[in-house]
Chain length 209, copies 2
């Protein structure tokens, strides 16, 4: 029996939120990873520049072992979409791991899954996460029981390596890290609001939310 991983996608998602974890998790031996959506077919990302195909509808995969919800402005309608929220609640009942990247945690929270749980999201959305009932923690990866949430966009790669280690052991996770040559060396050190110039923090905060 393979371990089944479902990544929920939707129009106007942020591609890297989904693809960072996909690239890590799909390399775990014995997993079957599928992209699911409210309606199957090609979803356009938030920039409009890319189409990503969901092979399955929600009903085609009612009981994945691992759930991942990415972020992106397109997930706002999902916060009030009973079909999606009901699916998330039902899936979460049976998962081994329920996970999110960036504002994907807002959707989990809207489904009630993060009520009273420690969780994170993109740094500009911490207040929104609290409004939806979670206990926000500004860390890159937050683990609370079987729930793993990642900070903004690129943090999904770190979360997925953490998850790969939980699912398959440290050696497998390290082999995947080596395979994708994830030895990060960004040319600047401005990847968090604590490190970036304050005027850039204000700029991003005003363009989000």
């Amino acid at each position: 029996m393979s371990t089944r991983i479902a990544i929920l996608i939707f129009d106007e998602l942020t591609a890297l939120d989904a693809i960072g974890p996909y690239e890590v998790l799909s390399r775990i031996p014995g997993v079957e990873l599928r992209f699911v959506a409210r309606e199957p077919g090609v979803k356009r990302t938030d920039t409009g520049a890319l189409g990503m195909e969901a092979d399955l509808a929600l009903g085609d995969l009612p009981d994945p072992d691992v759930l991942l919800v990415p972020g992106g402005q397109g997930n706002r309608p999902l916060l009030e979409d009973d079909e999606v929220l009901d699916w998330l609640r039902a899936v979460h009942e049976g998962t081994t791991w329920t996970t999110s990247v960036c504002t994907g945690s807002l959707v989990l929270a809207a489904a009630g899954i993060l009520h009273g749980k420690h969780a994170t999201t993109h740094w500009a959305y911490m207040d929104r996460l609290e409004e939806l009932g979670a206990v926000p923690v500004q860390e890159r990866v937050v683990e609370d029981g079987k729930i793993l949430t990642a900070a903004g966009v690129s943090a999904g790669i770190d979360m997925a390596l953490t998850l790969a280690a939980r699912m398959a052991g440290d050696t497998v996770a390290q082999a995947i890290q080596l395979g994708i040559e994830y030895d990060p060396d960004p040319p600047f050190d401005s990847g968090s609001p604590d490190k970036a110039p304050p005027e850039l923090v204000d700029l991003i905060r005003s363009s989000e939310g």
Copy 2:
């Protein structure tokens, strides 16, 4: 006039090779980023789990300002595909920047674009890059004139931030880094062959190539 960026995709590409840079470069103000392929339509990634859509054929975009070639086992046929190699050579004549991620540099090399140039690739493919006429350099991002090449898979994010700074200035690149919260913190330090356990290096080397 917008700056036009073309990302070449194909069946059995490695998704993160393309999507890491896409997520950075598409956020540069004034760019128009498009996915192109030998034939337009949905391409399946190397795991088989994802379809990514190319909106344009090669002939639809004969003169992009920036070219990016990702890697993945599916690019092996491209090394001998005259239609693709001719397009790459013609495009490179007019680009401001010609770039690759992972084994995408092997395709640039097969087109003769890297002859005598310093370049990099996934660490397991350095010998192959040299066979194809480039001067291999085991660094995360290598710049030689207008050619920027990145090491394996995830290195495309670092390359794209470097490129964003060249194209639009350091402040724009830093704002993008903050927007995608790229403050990497992997749970292990095994992302390069110098740092990973030797048995994992052997394992990955034998499964690639």
